[in-house]
Symmetry: C2
Subunit: 333 residues, 2 copies
DNA sequence: AAAATAATTGCAACCGGTTGCAAAAGACTT
DNA sequence: AAGTCTTTTGCAACCGGTTGCAATTATTTT
């Protein structure tokens, strides 16, 4: 049913190459020819088949967007930004939802079958080896929200989680808390590990502050809530650094359920600054992760890779900042 | 770099057709041949190019997943379900984020260029004509969360919004509210219109109940909050049917900001029953939209269309149910 | 106005697969 | 062992485009 190059060529009474050329920019076509072809194409309602052309050009403009974070509301923002950024660059997101069952090899195979031009992995919980699998299969990869290192094996864009852990610790120290907890996300996530590491390192200078840490099973409301309930049942700390915002909101809920107040009885600081954190009935003090910059930079990097696939892997690190709201006691003066 | 059919053929010492046949099921190949080819393929790390094959078979297994709801957290659940359901059926979601700027024609063109096998439109706010544009371009379409009608022009899967409006009204009546408001989503959305219609129809039987209605600009926290603040500033009703859950949560926030209590001073009932509605610190009474069934049914329908593209358009309507939580006063006994 | 140069066009091969058809190979009869 | 019926295999054309190359046409130069 859909019209082809040939149909247009016949209608315009020219060669197929001529038609092809009017639809590929940079090709040599006279204005007269172009107009003639465009007229015929318009009459037929022709639009070129991107997949067929990919066969010869070797480019599909398809980008695999791979994530396992379909339960953290912040990722709706992330997907929104990624899809828009890709669309603006005339690229198309082929979405891959990594469930617990999917094995890495099969998603690699799948994306290869569709000859995606590149892969964006968006996750702070996937093991680092994961994105390497794509690279090893010869695809340009950018790991957004990954763990930046000084000698990265794939491109990584994200924040310095160690530093953000320190930042959280400093914030809590400055507010005079003497008994502080780290309520982390899943223990296996690099983001959790790094944040804890920085957190403890900063507090190592403060021998008079009591510090403990534990982990929730996921970056989720329910996991945060459950872990906080557990903590509350037995001698909780005065303030916690929650693994991320949604987890912290779960913790807030737990605190409320126990009829304790925030920040009166317990303080919380989250991480991400998702839209919800600013909701007036949540009003979470948090560390802002500059999502828009991370996404924009990831896509920019991807665009660079498409031009030069041999570009050396690089880490791009963005700074975080404290967003002061209502879940920590005020700064001591 | 990636290996081709030909490479495998040479390595196995057979014809290209033979290789092709071992990778298409239902083709005639002897076991001996199949094993031989598979061995060669494995040695080379070959995997067939889905796009090239789509050229001759006319099927890409690509499904356009089109939405404009990238700001409503419920859609993360929706995307999660859709992507998984598609993956299970060996279909790939090509995500299209409809922003205010994108015109329908361009997304139609885009999806045609990628020869998607079908299009799933997931939105309760898009005008009905939108999905028709895809159908007119010859693609199988399912509009999930659309407006079901008795003579649909495309397949529609969703709830009966008129009935859900009635259900909300009945619920509020049963609780003895004498002054009731409809705090709708965007006025142009079919879902808003239908819900209001049902709501008013049901209340038409109760002349002694005062009824008013107004609209928020979007199904969003901020829009709900703003509209509720406006309403609170001047003689608010006793209870409201909020356009959807996020919007209702925004309204709850506004109520809290004015130091009023829920359900003491004002009652709220939402619609959707998104995960967040069950969060203990929100605890929103709402009408559950059976998302999982809507999604599953949409994909099922899409699969049917792929088999029989001439299938007549049908509406599939799912029932909603009240989820009783803490934002309405208890039922009178 | 002829020669030299540049821009445009069509031919034909190719991208990586699939598939109808006829030839070749196997399996079964008798 | 020859003859018949199936199954398997390869050939070659095709899917809808792109592109190097040579031929053609237009433009400039002298």
């Amino acid at each position: 049913m859909p019209k082809t190059l040939k149909d247009v060529a016949i209608r315009a009474g020219v060669s197929r190459s001529a038609v092809s050329r009017t639809f590929t920019d940079g090709a040599s076509v006279s204005d007269k020819m172009r107009r003639r072809v465009q007229k015929a194409a318009a009459e037929l309602g022709y639009s070129p088949n991107a997949l067929a052309s990919s066969l010869t050009t070797g480019r599909t403009k398809l980008i695999g967007l791979v994530s396992n974070n379909f339960h953290n509301p912040i990722f709706l923002e992330v997907f929104d930004r990624f899809t828009r950024a890709l669309q603006e660059k005339d690229l198309r997101p082929l979405l891959v939802n990594l469930t617990d069952e999917t094995d890495p090899a099969s998603s690699v195979r799948m994306l290869r079958q569709y000859s995606v031009d590149g892969v964006v992995v968006a996750s702070s919980t996937l093991p680092p080896g994961f994105s390497k699998a794509f690279r090893d299969a010869g695809m340009p990869v950018v790991h957004a929200f990954g763990r930046p290192t000084s000698s990265p094996e794939v491109h990584v864009v994200g924040i310095d989680n160690i530093e953000s852990g320190r930042m959280a610790a400093r914030t809590l120290i400055a507010r005079g808390y003497g008994d502080i907890g780290f309520l982390g996300g899943p223990e296996t996530a690099t983001s959790t590990q790094d944040r804890l590491h920085g957190f403890l390192a900063e507090l190592a200078n403060c021998p008079d502050i009591r510090v403990r840490h534990s982990f929730a099973e996921a970056y989720s409301f329910e996991a945060g809530r459950r872990e906080m309930l557990r903590l509350l049942a037995d001698d909780p700390a005065q303030a916690y650094f929650g693994g991320d915002d949604v987890l912290s909101i779960g913790a807030l809920s737990a605190i409320g359920e126990c009829n304790l107040t925030v920040p009166g009885d317990i303080g919380i600081i989250g991480l991400n600054d998702m839209e919800m954190a600013a909701w007036q009935n949540i009003n979470l003090t948090t560390i802002r992760q500059p999502i828009r910059h991370i996404v924009a930079s990831s896509i920019e990097l991807m665009a660079e890779m498409l031009k030069d696939p041999d570009r050396l892997p690089e880490s791009r690190i963005f700074a975080c900042e404290i967003v002061e709201r209502g879940t920590l006691r005020p700064l001591k003066v």
